[in-house]
Amino acid sequence: MPLYKVKPVSPGDIKIDLPTCMYKLPNVHAQGTNCDEHALQNGEVDPALRALEERQDEVLRRLYELRATVDGLAKTVTTPDADLDATTLSRGPAESVFRGTADLDSLLGKDLGALRDIVINANPACPPLSLLVLHSLLCQRYQVLSSVHVHSSVSAVPPPLLSCLGPRHIDSYARQRFQLGFTLIWKDVSKLEMKFNTQSMCPIQGEANVARFLFRLLGAEPQDPVAATQMDCWIDTAVFQLAEGGSKERATVLRSLNAALGRSPWLLGEEFSLADIVSACCVLRAGQSTSAPANVQRWLKSCQNLGHFDCVYSLLQ
């Protein structure tokens, strides 16, 4: 039987401004509630919810940080002249060539639990000397499984080319123990090419480009853009003008090399870099090491003293 109802006299949700000078007592009527709006029947907060909350806070914080970084970058990129003064960039020694770190996973793709094999197809008529030097450097840093093969398109290859990567590693029967594979195939190709992951990477063509890729694996790329550009500039000069140019161009390059090397021990300054490797190999291949200017000869001697050029000298004999 419905009872007689009286309309509420006062609304139940009046907000009372409690004075803050007084201390508060916990509410005796509702057991164990805290100030949070979401309390369960028994008064405890679901730990999962708390964790979720914490995660949300964390994500928000990181988002704010990221936004701040992107804003800063945007500013730098859109107004380079205003914010970045090239003259104030330090010309000091770049990060050391051999002590940098490289993230193999980011350069070569996720490690799928098997040997990561870099395949290089080269023509035996024109051996890639700079890649042999880089191979020697890579062997210092990583466990590299090197192998040399002769493709059926070539009928015979002189024996020094078969042993250009050095003696076979004792553990070469267990491919899994190595971090990196370096497979050199002597093949009848017009242009040197490198293949790594045919599903996700297109082949890299040209000795200079493959050299740049391998150099990155050493974690030794110059960080500052000026040095990086200079390095690329020297590499292009060496490959296009020194190796493929006429005798006049070669003489010009040798003169500019001489001039640069008069100012500093290496082409980029105080540190050895890919520019030195590629340029030295091109000078050696052109066969003008004995007739080169004095600074160039001194520089070639320094390269040889580093020890990684032994494979090159043995091939040139």
């Binding site: 395949v119 197809n121 093969h149 059926s152 009928s155 029967y173 491919r175 293949k195 599903q199």
Partner: protein
């Protein structure tokens, strides 16, 4: 008046009769004239034949060669007919490939194995009309002896293999005549598949070829294929003998099925039954335990598998190798792959003519390989397949489509049609495979692939009787049946490994053909027992 009419009619009748009679007489006269003409012509021809056949003794069908006399006559092979022999008068024995008469001339194409040459017979002072007629009527595929003068030609004869010379025939005799209706035409059998459909000309399908194998084997393509196959066998033997291997012959009638009872043929053996050997495996291993160190054998292998695929036969020629090694089974892999590379190099360098001949009918990419042979580990293969989107477990065996895909991936990256996949999972290999010492889930076993298809399955064998017994029990094999096998390892056995290839399959894959019956002379499969 009627009388007059009657009279008139009678006269008319008489006149009509005489008209008819006249016509009839005329017709008869015509007929007689024709007949007389014909007779006269025949008589004239007869006279001609009898008169003009001055070349009667320079052609004809020889009596069957029953070694009636020993003629000291040198026959020149068609292959050797070159401009150097110009103006020489020589004898040639060959088959008639085609013959075509044109007025007073007859063009013949003579064929011997893969080589053809054009021959010309013209009416003149050496040859009569009857002789030319005789030559034109000879059936294709007949074997003939021809005496002719070799003549140089100014324009190359594109359709023959001997393009710079032509034979001018003086004498022509038939040694063995062929029946006029051939079950298949050789030009059709050599025609490439696509061409036939386009121009409405026939090609011959495989069953017809196999039913009439004797004629099909005469085609240039078949000659080239089987000469190359002979080369494979010879290179295999030569390379291994040079490496110090000993050739052995193993029994093919055996008492117990070795690997699994399902795929063996049973033969009745006096009062009991025996089996045809599925592989020479057991006997190869026994030879190693008998201190022969390095053995190989070439012989038939019988597999009673009811698979009607492009690459399975019930009987094929197996080339098997077994070798004792010092410390690591890779010594054996290196030896086997080096043998294969020597075979490929030998074929590449010495059999180019045959390869080109086969490519004319069955075009394909040339076979590429690396030296030393590429060896990948099973895990790397699985990683490559996963990178290409295939989902498979670590210990799962490779299915045929996956093998083909892996072959394509390896070809893309390394540009080789031949490679070895090492360290297969133990679970998918036979009981006598040696497990990997460092990882019990894997084994010291390997497969070799050509153009993405498996050609060799091999492994390091378990040479310890106790371990072998354990592994056999693990696989649920009846120990009684393999007692003799296990016994051979009880008295000191060296560590050894090996593998075997199928001659037909290797030839098929090297040439890029698509059906193993093309490389088996008289193939055997579940549906074919003859010829």
């Amino acid at each position: 008046m009627t009388k007059e009419n009657v009279q008139g009619a009678g006269e008319e009748e008489q006149q009509a009769q005489s008209k008819k009679a006249l016509k009839k007489q005329q017709k008869e006269a015509e007929k007689a004239a024709k007949k007389a003409e014909k007779q006269a012509k025949l008589a004239a021809e007869q006279q001609e034949t009898d008169e003009d056949d001055f070349a009667k003794d320079r052609y004809g069908i020889c009596p069957m060669v029953q070694s009636q006399q020993k003629l000291d006559r040198a026959l020149v092979r068609v292959q050797d007919l070159t401009p150097e022999k110009a103006e020489q008068q020589i004898w040639v024995r060959a088959r008639i490939h085609t013959s075509r008469a044109k007025g007073k001339q007859c063009f013949l194409v003579l064929r011997h194995q893969q080589f053809t040459v054009q021959a010309l017979l013209a009416v003149g002072d050496r040859a009569s009309k009857q002789m030319v007629k005789f030559a034109a009527n000879l059936t294709k595929e007949s074997i003939i002896d021809v005496e002719a003068v070799v003549k140089k030609v100014e324009q190359k004869i594109e359709s023959c293999s001997q393009q710079d010379v032509e034979l001018h025939v003086e004498r022509i005799f038939v040694i063995s005549q062929s029946e006029p209706r051939l079950p298949l035409q050789l030009e059709d059998a050599v025609r490439p598949e696509g061409e036939g459909d386009e121009e409405g000309r026939a090609t011959v399908n495989q069953d017809t070829r196999l039913d009439n194998r004797v004629i099909d084997l005469r085609t240039t393509t078949s000659q080239a294929i089987f000469r190359l196959q002979s080369g494979v066998c010879q290179l295999f033997r030569d390379t291994l003998i040079n490496k110090g291997f000993v050739e052995i012959q193993t029994p093919k009638i055996i008492s117990a099925a070795s690997e699994g009872g399902a795929n063996v043929f049973t033969v009745s053996y006096f009062k009991t039954s025996a089996y045809l050997a599925q592989s020479p495996q057991l006997y190869k291993q026994m030879c190693i335990c008998a201190d022969f160190d390095k053995v190989f054998c070439v012989g038939p292998v019988f597999r009673a598998e009811d698979s009607n695929t492009h690459r399975h036969l019930t009987e094929f020629v197996g080339l098997d190798i077994e070798m004792a090694f010092n410390y690591h089974y890779h010594e054996v892999i290196d030896s086997i792959t080096d043998t294969m590379v020597q075979i490929f190099k030998g074929l590449r360098d010495r059999f180019q003519t045959e390869i080109q001949t086969v490519n004319k009918q069955y075009p394909s990419e040339p076979f590429k390989f690396l030296e030393p042979t590429l060896r990948l580990e099973y895990k790397e293969g699985v990683a490559m397949l996963r990178a290409a989107g295939v989902e498979m477990g670590d210990e799962e065996d490779l299915s045929t489509p996956n093998e083909k895909l892996l072959g394509r991936l390896v070809k893309e990256k390394y540009d080789t049609d031949f490679y070895v996949l090492d360290k297969y999972p133990l679970a998918v290999r036979p009981f006598y495979t040696m497990p990997d010492p460092n990882n019990p889930k894997y084994s010291n076993s390997y497969d070799m692939f050509m153009r993405g298809e498996e050609i060799l399955s091999g492994a390091q064998r378990v040479h310890d009787a106790q371990l072998l017994t354990e592994r056999a029990m693990h696989h649920g094999i009846d120990l009684e049946k393999i007692k003799a096998y296990i016994d051979s390892f009880r008295y000191g056995a060296p560590p050894h490994a090996g593998g075997g290839i199928g001659l037909e399959r290797v030839t098929m894959l090297y040439l890029g053909l698509h059906n193993v019956r093309q490389t088996s002379m008289f193939p055997r499969d579940p549906k074919r027992l003859t010829p």
